[in-house]
């Protein structure tokens, strides 16, 4: 598998400059063109969606339809007083948001935005994303500890326990896709989810992983639920419960520090939805269409753009569902949350792994689509 990453692509398209300049440019591009604007814009979108579901208008003063609201919020946060509570641990207080943001944003480097636009198609693709998002848990824990506030500490402990517990169903739900794809590289996993109208091609591609076999469909739902819990979103947002623990682990964080936490949360939501999209919903693959089999060969640039649009459309749909759930479902109590994880999701996830392995063994790795095709044609 060649390394199809941003830096290489940029170097081939633009042609000048050594590789390391393009590597830095692409890293900064991912951060400033993707993570930060998305984080900021997501706060605006969430408020608008919330308003719509609650039958009110939402922000509409700043810019047309209030679109520039998040920029105004950013300026407000930058200008706030740098409040440090008495008795807090200054070093950890400053370190915690940095760890959390690092964990959330570093995963962007490995997301498969298109066949030619992956920040770094590492050999351990999905393992890299999983490992980088585990940096968030110690960050939250240290931040809540250093606030010298027992409600923050309690919120942080619960948050860490929750994030850490739900990593198991998440990882176990990623396993069926690894079993099906035979590789940890995300680019490869998405490629295999293609479609082809020729018999040769159909032997290679097995359509979206969500419809590969019934177990993976359940796995996708489990991964989505686990992702909700990992990012502390409703119905799992007890750690930052607005009505119970004041604001949970980020009570004493104000101004830009809080902004960093909010940014990290939305970035993490994006990463989780992107993982579900890439692994189960075909990533940048268009359903029933194979861009390499068209009657005209499109330039790579155009293909990359189309695939990027498809990927973002799918991911944003999932992000919309995440926001929709926030205003629909009530919050789970902490023992219900833990019980759901260890007594519900983990057994189901283990069952899915074994089920997928059994299906792979019995049907020699073919998906439902491929089996139907065989039935119809042979």
């Amino acid at each position: 598998m060649n390394s199809a990453n941003f830096a290489n692509s940029l170097q081939t398209w633009i042609g000048i400059g050594p590789l390391w300049i393009w590597a830095i440019v692409s890293a900064l591009a991912v951060l400033f063109l993707l993570a930060l604007p998305f984080g900021g814009f997501a706060t605006y979108v969430e408020r608008k969606i919330a308003a719509d579901m609650q039958d009110r208008v939402g922000p509409n003063r700043v810019g047309p339809y209030g679109i520039l609201q998040f920029i105004a919020d950013a300026f407000k946060m930058l200008g706030k007083e740098d409040f440090i509570p008495l008795g807090c641990d200054k070093f950890l207080f400053n370190l915690a948001p940095v760890l959390v943001v690092m964990g959330a944003c570093a995963a962007f480097a490995a997301l498969p935005l298109s066949k030619y636009l992956i920040g770094a198609d590492v050999n351990i693709g999905i393992l890299f994303i999983l490992s980088v998002t585990t940096l968030i848990a110690p960050g939250i824990l240290l931040g809540s500890w250093s606030s010298a506030n027992k409600w923050s500490l309690l919120g942080g402990l619960r948050a860490a326990a929750q994030i850490v517990s739900y990593e198991i169903p998440v990882a176990l739900s990623i396993l069926p896709v690894i079993l099906i794809s035979g590789s940890l590289q995300i680019g490869r996993m998405v490629e295999l989810q293609g479609w082809s109208w020729t018999a040769e091609g159909l032997k290679q591609f097995h359509f979206w992983n969500a419809f590969h076999n019934p177990f993976t469909f359940i796995s996708m739902i489990l991964l989505f639920i686990g992702g909700l819990a990992e990012t502390n979103r409703i119905p799992f947002d007890l750690p930052e419960a607005e009505s119970e623990l004041v604001s949970g682990f980020n009570t004493e964080f104000s101004g830009m520090r809080f902004g960093l936490y909010a940014l990290a949360e939305f970035a993490d939501v994006f990463v989780m939805c992107a993982i579900v999209t890439a692994l189960y919903l075909g990533g940048w693959q268009i359903p029933f269409l194979n861009l390499d089999e068209l009657w005209v060969t499109l330039p790579t640039f155009l293909i990359a753009l189309i695939q990027l649009t498809v990927f973002l459309a799918k991911t944003f749909t999932l992000v919309f569902v995440v926001m929709w759930l926030r205003w629909t479902l009530p919050r789970l109590r902490v023992d219900q949350l833990m019980g759901l994880c260890w007594k519900g999701l983990v057994p189901i996830a283990l069952f899915n792994v074994l089920g997928t392995a059994a299906w792979m063994w019995i049907f020699k790795g073919q998906s439902i689509a491929q089996l139907l095709y065989k039935l119809v044609s042979g």
Binding site: K80, E81, A148, K150, W151, L175, L350
Partner: protein
């Protein structure tokens, strides 16, 4: 970004009056900022580590599973691979069931009725 904030924000002291004390819904903080020890956090962390190591150990065989099942790896028959995977996962399911039945996964002991047996 934190540096930009430092340049833009007005300077002010955090220890003016009562501003710096911990926020507790407007009341003065009661007691010290400590939480009584709850062993359930620790138990959950330990159970997590066990399952985490299990998953880290399953990842490499899972990577080769597809090739083994399609018969493309010499020396590994699909049935054998499936059996090994099944054994691995099965033993840990047994461990999970043990913890469940003995009530160690309960977050709040006594409320849902499952009290850990001696």
């Amino acid at each position: 970004m934190m540096g930009a904030g430092a340049l833009l924000r007005p300077r002010s002291k955090s220890n003016i009056g009562d501003k710096g004390i911990a926020y507790e819904c407007g009341e003065l903080p009661v007691g010290s900022a400590w939480v009584k020890f709850n062993i359930r956090f620790y138990v959950i962390a330990i159970v997590f580590i066990v399952f985490d190591v299990e998953m880290a150990a399953i990842f490499p065989p899972a990577t080769i599973f597809r090739d083994a099942v399609l018969g493309q790896t010499p020396g590994l028959s699909p049935a054998l691979v499936f059996l090994e995977l099944f054994l691995f996962v099965g033993l840990l399911v047994a461990g999970l069931i043990y913890c469940w039945v003995r009530g160690d996964l309960e977050w709040v002991k006594g409320i849902t009725g499952a009290v850990p047996k001696k």
